[in-house]
Symmetry: C2
Subunit: 592 residues, 2 copies
């Protein structure tokens, strides 16, 4: 069974030496002193290693089950959930007015990585609740907030998001679920929703469903979609639970992975619901939470890669097979450990150099979300909005690829469920699909975000790179092994953007045919920037006489690998983009 240990030192490095959070002017960041974050991370790490990680494997094997309309989570989940609630882990960045701890999102994200690495399926119960909490927090009436938020902050009640229907996912304008206005101001919701994560389960007393539906007579398409609060049990005036609402679980989906999470078909039959936010503005209400939700999925991508990587390293050090080509490294043993072989190293370095930069990228994104929320900084909001599809699309693609890499280290044992490496790959796979499939992320990036505010945010991104290179032009750790590579990547990204401007006008297919490559080009450039920043911080720490020199030299060496071996992918993506739409759109639909 796989193990997991929280990457405490790495998280602290990102928070305090790269992002320098406690020096930031963002309200609340002054509390994020190293000792404090260390204590939080270590505590989360203990629960992750001792409680959540062991349930990850058993949860996958056992799965959830539906019996007589009741959903049961795998053995041990309920007790673990109680422990999460009791420890206040569900309330970390929630509003203190409703029982939250009011911590910055960047800290909740650090903790989130740990929990997601340890048990992704389990953490989704809380994750979905947090999403629903945010929607009600932003769009709810005072009464709605008072009724629902305190219980959702504590996860006494959990939440869900109901968007997809059997015939419509991305294109929500096709939605059929209806919300009929009732005399008392409520709505009767009728329809079927599918793929509802944490749709129902036995770990909370109530489930608060947020449901997109159409009020008859409203505008056509997505402009006629509204958002509703539909509790599993109706809530009485005094906050106590009333009778069961008209919502039931049709079935639990059999999925490739995340078996520990109950992905439900939900049937609404004149269920009593309450409008959340403005009528017909349901899509806008959903979009409010989108950056956070998508950043959370990007985090799932690298967090699964991290967990898989940790186990691959253990296996590569333990498993004896063959001899190093340069001479035996374990001469007294029957063979050398796998880790002596250059191709195993290539594989592990791909994983390590990805995960560490992805972590920094997501934490940087989280700090910009804080900056937007707490300082009202529109530039930070715009930049993180631009980077969100990159975080979601690129990090989940690569996260899955790296989980596959980690599985490969195990050879045949990687394919056997008993070793747990298959699960990391199967679980990571969903992150490329949900919360907007990665092709949709690429479309969002190229079709929408690039041009937002007249292209201001992508220009700001280029400026960040340019300034970093300028400021550090003579930096001994950066000038040869980081800056030229970063400059080239940035040049490739600019050339691709320019290609879209010049050719997308003539034919938008010229831009969209290159959108996926652009998302990856952008992602690599971001990770290159993260590595340059990390290398600088690591070098500065060594210069400052840091005691754990080994940690920092490893950091620089890992960064060098990424810059030399991974970042050059930008030129391939650019070359593909510059071929335009001709070969992509050449066939008729019938010729495929």
């Amino acid at each position: 069974m796989p193990s997991y240990v929280a990457p405490t030192q790495d998280l602290q490095f990102v928070l305090h030496e790269v992002l320098k959070v406690s020096e930031s002017a963002i309200p609340g960041y002054d509390e994020l002193e190293p000792d404090f974050t260390l204590a939080v991370i270590e505590e989360a790490g203990k629960i992750a290693s001792n409680v959540l990680a062991p349930l990850n494997f058993s949860g996958d094997r056992e799965g959830c089950r539906l019996e007589n309309g009741v959903v049961y989570t795998p053995k041990g989940f309920k007790e673990a959930f109680e422990q999460m609630k009791d420890g206040g882990w569900t309330a970390l960045d929630c509003d203190p007015e409703y029982g939250g701890q009011g911590m910055p999102y960047v800290l909740a994200t650090s903790v989130g990585e740990i929990f997601v690495s340890a048990n992704m399926a389990f953490n989704m119960y809380q994750g979905l609740t947090h999403g629903a909490y945010s929607a009600i927090h932003v769009h709810g009436t005072d009464a709605q907030k008072q009724t629902f938020l305190p219980k959702m902050v504590s996860c006494e009640w959990t939440g869900t998001m109901n968007l997809t229907e059997p015939h419509c996912g991305t294109d929500l304008g096709l939605m059929r679920t209806k919300a009929e206005p009732q005399d008392d101001g409520s709505y009767a919701i009728t329809g079927q929703k599918i793929f509802i994560s944490a749709g129902d389960h036995d770990m909370s007393k109530n489930v608060i469903h947020l449901v997109l539906a159409k009020i008859p007579g409203g505008p056509e398409g997505v402009k006629g979609v509204s958002l509703f609060i539909v509790p599993k049990f109706n809530v009485n005036e005094n906050g106590s639970l009333g009778e069961r609402n008209g919502v039931s679980v049709g079935s639990i989906e059999e999925k490739m992975g995340i078996h520990g999470n109950s992905t439900c078909v939900m049937n609404y039959d004149s269920a009593r619901g309450f409008l959340l936010g403005d009528m017909h503005k349901g899509m806008r209400a959903m979009f409010t939470m989108m950056n956070e939700a998508r950043l959370g999925v990007g985090l799932q991508g690298y967090a699964q890669a991290e967990a898989a990587y940790q186990n691959a390293v253990i296996y590569a050090n333990d498993r004896l097979q063959g001899r190093a080509v340069t001479g035996a490294q374990n001469p007294n043993g029957p063979a050398d450990p796998l880790i002596v072989h250059p191709d195993i190293r290539r594989n592990l370095m791909d994983q390590k150099s990805f995960v560490e930069a992805a972590r920094t990228f997501v934490m940087w994104g989280a700090s910009m979300i804080d900056e937007g929320h707490k300082l009202g900084n529109k530039d930070a909001e715009g930049l993180v909005g631009l980077l969100t599809p990159v975080i979601k699309g690129f990090l989940t693609d690569k996260g899955f690829e790296m989980a596959i890499n980690a599985q490969q280290v195990y050879g045949g044992h990687g394919y056997i469920e008993e070793w747990g490496m298959s699960q990391f790959a199967r679980d990571a796979r969903i992150a490329m699909i949900y919360e907007g499939a990665n092709g949709v992320q690429a479309l969002d990036l190229v079709g929408r975000k690039l041009g937002t505010d007249g292209g201001k945010h992508v220009l700001a991104f280029f400026e960040i790179i340019k300034n970093f290179i300028k400021e550090n032009a003579d930096h001994p750790a950066l000038k040869d092994d980081f800056l030229p590579q970063l400059k080239q990547a940035s040049k490739d990204l600019q050339a691709a953007s320019m290609y879209f401007v010049e050719n997308g006008m003539k034919d938008p297919n010229n831009a969209l045919a290159g959108s996926y490559d652009f998302m990856h080009l952008f992602g690599h450039t971001c990770l290159g920037l993260m590595w340059a920043r990390m290398a600088k911080a690591a070098h500065d720490a060594i210069e400052g006489g840091a005691s754990d020199k080994d940690f920092y030299t490893t950091k620089i060496a890992t960064g060098r690998y990424y810059m030399a071996r991974q970042l050059p992918a930008t030129s391939l993506h650019l070359a593909r983009i510059q071929t335009g739409a001709d070969t992509v759109m050449a066939l008729d639909a019938g010729q495929f």
Copy 2:
């Protein structure tokens, strides 16, 4: 549930217009007239679509089970296996002396693709039998051949290959299974073997295990390994079945995929075995079949991608979601089909352009195996030996990647087992691992095959490309869209080879750190060559007034896509290779 239709026209195109098999001087190829191969392929296609494909999905859901020492295959497998036997499909390329039909391997490979696409797990029962048949055919005594081959050709008895033990896979020198010589000339085999595909089941009367084991007192390591025939039921002098041998199934492995195949832990307890081939030369005996076995796994890679692709195309045409950016294509419907979207096309074109070239590559490889076997052509043998790790490693990596791509087209439905797309990905995953994990293929390619016979075979490969480019320099279909790209790829491959020559001497890690990239660089170059050949054949067919012009123009357009969008990956692989071992080997084992 997914469907499958054999790509008859594509296979015929490869056999007759690209490879021109019936014009070849290889003995037996004169029989491969278009009408004949068409009849065979169509008949195989019927069984595949009507019998095997429907059992693929149910076989995955049901899996195999072990009850009281007996292994049961999924419902319907037994009847389907009878049908395969009755139709003579198990004997296609087997020796007529033992009841085979003596057809060329290239024809068996064409049929193999069809059966593997339809049901990979099912086809492995016959595939393993064929491997064991080949080993006995080459290395067995006359008596052994007479005893075992006729029943294995008909699959009345099936076969297995027993190499792996819990602590040793690639490094077979660590093997512990013992073979104690007995007075009657037989051996008593004792030990445990794992990951034994088709290890036991209810579809045949006997299972003939080929088992690697060490005779006590023999040389250390792999040089002391011998190969043994160990029947499940002892065989009497008259060929009838005697009592049960000392071999039993310990358990069936729970795997990520290929659930329809019984992957067994096999326990040998003084089982009666017979030496096959020379004492201590077991590895050599295994290697005899290696090219075929690895080519067969490479075939599994693209065959799964083919099956997944077919379904992705159906879904992309059926599923209505969003509108084409250039204007509605299905104005009377609620939305346009997915296939209008450029990024869906990019995804499908990646799949299509890979599968079609991979098919041609494998068939070319199969024809060289025939050339080696039937004409004793050492150059063909050497070239296919060089290309074998590329076929196995590159085609299974890409095949899996494309199965993931196909799954992605389905969005959320791709993650639900009910749709069957997860199975293609899970089944394809094993092909990257077994029969030598792909990292081992890369090692074999760079560490062994490149330098075989003084590098003669890689030079021959470059010569093939050079001559093709020279001969077709003015070809109207090739000169702009195929030849310059192929030339560049070949140049990259030569530069990488040269890098290894120049830097591998100083430090072999410089070569091995780039071995995986080299395997992919080589693979892309091969597929580029295949596309150039196919485009030429397609153009010639159009010029010759072929009736189905649409087929050939589609072929050329698909090739253009590959040359423009995929082949440029060679320069990235070269760039990585040229960074050498420094960044790959920079960390100590403890720093990961």
